[in-house]
Symmetry: C2
Subunit: 107 residues, 2 copies
Amino acid sequence: MNKPDLLFKALADPSRRKLLDRLYANDGQTLSQLCTHLDMTRQSVTQHLDLLEAANLVTVLWRGREKLHLLNPVPLQEVYERWLAKFEKPRLKALHDLKQRLEGDDT
Amino acid sequence: MNKPDLLFKALADPSRRKLLDRLYANDGQTLSQLCTHLDMTRQSVTQHLDLLEAANLVTVLWRGREKLHLLNPVPLQEVYERWLAKFEKPRLKALHDLKQRLEGDDT
DNA sequence: TTGACATGCAGGTATTTGCCTGCATATAAG
DNA sequence: CTTATATGCAGGCAAATACCTGCATGTCAA
């Protein structure tokens, strides 16, 4: 699977985003530590972390029997640069607004 | 399903990103037009477009029997503001580099 | 009105996902 | 050495996904 696929898929799950948030608040936590705040088994959390690792959002550092998880923000910056930066605010929003006027709001 | 879930899920598929790219290059295309460049049936493309619409990335405008698709970049800006902006460049990359030194490169 | 065109709607199926249980392995501590 | 701790590995299962086929509906144009 290619790079942006892995990245967006990794971000598409609330449990995984929660893991990223926890690492953002307190980086370098072990698997067991990360498990304590999610209502699922250790094995499920492992699977989520594996996905985050595959997306290069989390890097692993072994210390003895402990597996420390470190957050890597670089791919997120790349997402911005390659996918979001080109959508500058004013440009296409005008079309959306135009639609609102032509059709009435169907939201 | 909540907002960021829909957004990231919509972006997690290469066909859907390709559709967004095509709309970025040439906005307001019909379903048939969008089908011509993807190697799948019209119904599959419809499903992808439905997902993009659910994520509010695409807005639809009916003109007679034609369904025009308009790109809406606002959710992408929100993604940046709510998820990416807080990961400023220098901060945590240092930890990733530290790991490289401690473990050797396992990439 | 009739025929062509644009799209919708209703399934059917193979694959992927997300979660689980059960057991195995490796490290730390007494 | 023995026990507790931290994690890995294998497999199973229900739900979601991403395709498809077949048929129905609505709109334009002659």
